[in-house]
Amino acid sequence: MHLRRNLNAGTTLTEAMVAVLLVAGFFSSVFEVNAVCLRYINASKENVAAIQGVQDRLETFRSLAFTDLESASYMSTLLAVPSNSAPLAQRVVETITISDYPSGIPSVVYSRSAGLSITPTVSWTGGSSFRTTTSMLRTNVRYTWTTTFSGRSRSEETESLISTGIKK
């Protein structure tokens, strides 16, 4: 028996639906991969900006005179502007905690809400100023922000110890 291909035969509806599903699935995958990549890129950019931001802030603290680092009024003025010019730095809530090391008392928390020129709130615990005998401070910088794409809350922080003395 010889089978001949019927050149005039079309595809069945089932075949067409399978093809459409395959193509739709493929393009959905492509778009999803693309979206994931975009989210990664965006998350990466925000994370890098956040890392750079907290590190810029910490390096600024390290270069300050120790008496300025202890001064709430000086710090409030300093923290009125974001740590750097990255757009993210204006979108984050910045929390800076400075405490006596190693006792941890007293400590002061500066909370800076998002914005370009923001005066931070100042909250002391265990006193209203550092003691004259304080020779080391623990400094913690924390960024909190909401990611652009998925709207998730993210945070980044870093910490160091800074002593008084002549280091420059």
């Binding site: 910490l58 910490e159 110890l161 002593s163």
Partner: protein
């Protein structure tokens, strides 16, 4: 088949893009953060060590508490800081004594930060055809501590071993040198108020290393002119009445200088500073049995010449007569006196004698009774040990007639001087008052002389291996 092939190829491209994104994200966030935080941890450890070094001067009884000691090396425990559990530890080695007998310290600290994310190096290694860069520079320890394996735990090639790390990490190491801050950086330094000197007074400088003093501050052609205009005056408040001519710089903290034409150097009215209390050094040798007071004329010739960091030491309770100190033959002879009471007597130190007097009480003398036969101010140094009660103020009173060559470091003392003495030396005090037409000559050799009153970081390098 064609469609499936196309899907496969495009999927591979997509997967590759995703992998590239993931790798770059991994490097730019996790590994860069670890790299920088490791340095912060190392610097935090360096600051912990530096604070302990400063305590050797400012709080000797509490310095290096909790550190282990072996010979001249102190070793810290591990300190953990931050949400990311950064760790730091280090050593402090006393490696050198300078000509003043002050120790210098070498601080070596390492900081370790965990590396989150994938155990994967970056994609941007290749700088050119043969050189690789970033990832190698960062030296991430994914499985083993590369430093211990290649250089040993102390970096000296001893004890090399393959040591597994508990998790991927980056370790950075820094070395700092802490050098002493000597006390006499200005002719007059007062942390409180200042009044003086007379309207015809003058403050200039010279360098005793070049020979005896002569006035050169108005002669630019003089070979020692460059040493003649460092008669600096530093005042820690804005409460100052400054008179006379100053061949040097004038600094106040909020003052307003109105006779600026009488100051040859710069005027800076925004120089805040504080002087920490001076504590009795704990490194002096045990005192000699006698003399224990100077209530009659006493002549002392030490048994040995000693050295700057091991002087012959005396403990004296009262001093109201004359003390003469001879050198050991013609050798440079180093002597330290701890005076627990007041001083109203006189002193005569012979050439080649280097004397430091640490006094707990007050000092009052006539300028002529302070005989320093070498005429080198650095050979007669007074240190006022700050009273335990900060409300108590010491006094140093200098009365006419006569001249003297000496230095005073007394951050808790009020200094009062009457008459018109000719002075070679420097003073650091709380309040300063001088009403005479004094000629004050700061000796630039004092720039690097005297007991350490603090420590500063003199150098900083990173061990990039």
């Amino acid at each position: 088949m064609l469609a499936l092939g196309t899907i496969l190829i495009v999927s591979l491209i997509g997967a590759n893009v995703l992998m590239n994104c993931t790798t770059r994200y991994n490097v730019s966030s996790s590994q860069v953060r670890g790299w920088k935080e490791a340095l912060y941890a190392a610097e935090a450890g360096g600051d912990i060590a530096y604070a302990e070094i400063r305590k050797t001067i400012l709080d000797p009884s509490n310095s290096f508490t909790g550190w282990s000691v072996a010979g001249s090396i102190h070793t810290s425990t591990t300190t953990t800081i931050g949400q990311n559990s950064l760790t730091t530890d280090g050593t402090v080695e006393r490696f050198y004594y300078d000509v003043n007998g002050n120790p210098w310290y070498r601080v070596r600290t390492k900081g370790t930060a965990p590396v989150m994310g994938l155990r994967r190096v970056g994609m941007d290694d290749r700088m050119n055809g043969t050189t690789r860069g970033d990832s190698l520079l960062r030296k991430i320890d994914f499985n083993y501590d590369h430093f211990t394996a290649a250089y040993g735990p102390n970096g000296d090639g001893v004890g090399k071993a393959l040591v597994a790390v508990p998790r991927p990490q980056i370790t950075r190491r820094i070395e700092q040198i802490a050098g002493p801050v000597t006390p006499f950086e200005a002719a007059i330094k007062a942390s409180g108020t200042f009044y003086g000197l007379g309207s015809a007074a003058q403050i200039d400088s010279f360098n005793s290393s070049n020979g005896a003093y002569y006035f050169a501050a108005n002669n630019p052609a003089d070979p020692h002119y460059s040493d003649s205009r460092s008669g600096n005056v530093e005042i820690g408040t804005g409460v100052a009445t400054v008179m006379g001519t100053i061949y040097g710089n004038l600094a106040t903290n909020g003052g307003t200088v109105v006779r600026s034409s009488y100051v040859s150097g710069t005027i800076d009215n925004n120089v805040p500073f504080t002087l920490p209390p001076f504590k009795m050094p704990t490194t002096l040798p045990a005192p000699q049995a006698s003399p224990s007071n100077v209530t009659s004329n006493v002549v002392v010739t030490p048994l040995v010449a000693g050295s700057a960091n091991v002087p012959t030491t005396y403990l004296i309770s009262s001093w109201n007569n004359k003390l003469t100190i001879n050198s050991v033959d013609s050798a440079q002879t180093y002597v330290a006196i701890h005076l627990t009471g007041d001083m109203t007597g006189s002193i005569d130190i012979k050439p080649n004698v280097h004397l430091q007097i640490f006094f707990d009480g007050n000092i009052s003398f006539k300028a002529r009774d302070m005989i320093n036969e070498s005429n080198v101010a650095g050979n007669l140094q007074f240190y006022g040990v700050s009273p335990i009660d900060p409300a108590v103020t010491q006094t140093i009173n200098v009365a006419p007639p006569g001249n003297f060559a000496a230095t005073f470091y007394a951050p808790s003392a009020d200094f009062t001087m009457n008459g018109n003495p000719d002075i070679l030396g420097a003073i650091v005090c709380h309040n300063f008052y001088g009403n005479g037409n004094t000629s004050w000559h700061y000796d630039r050799a004092l720039d690097y002389m005297g007991d350490a009153v603090d420590y500063r970081i003199a150098s900083y390098v990173e061990d990039v291996r």
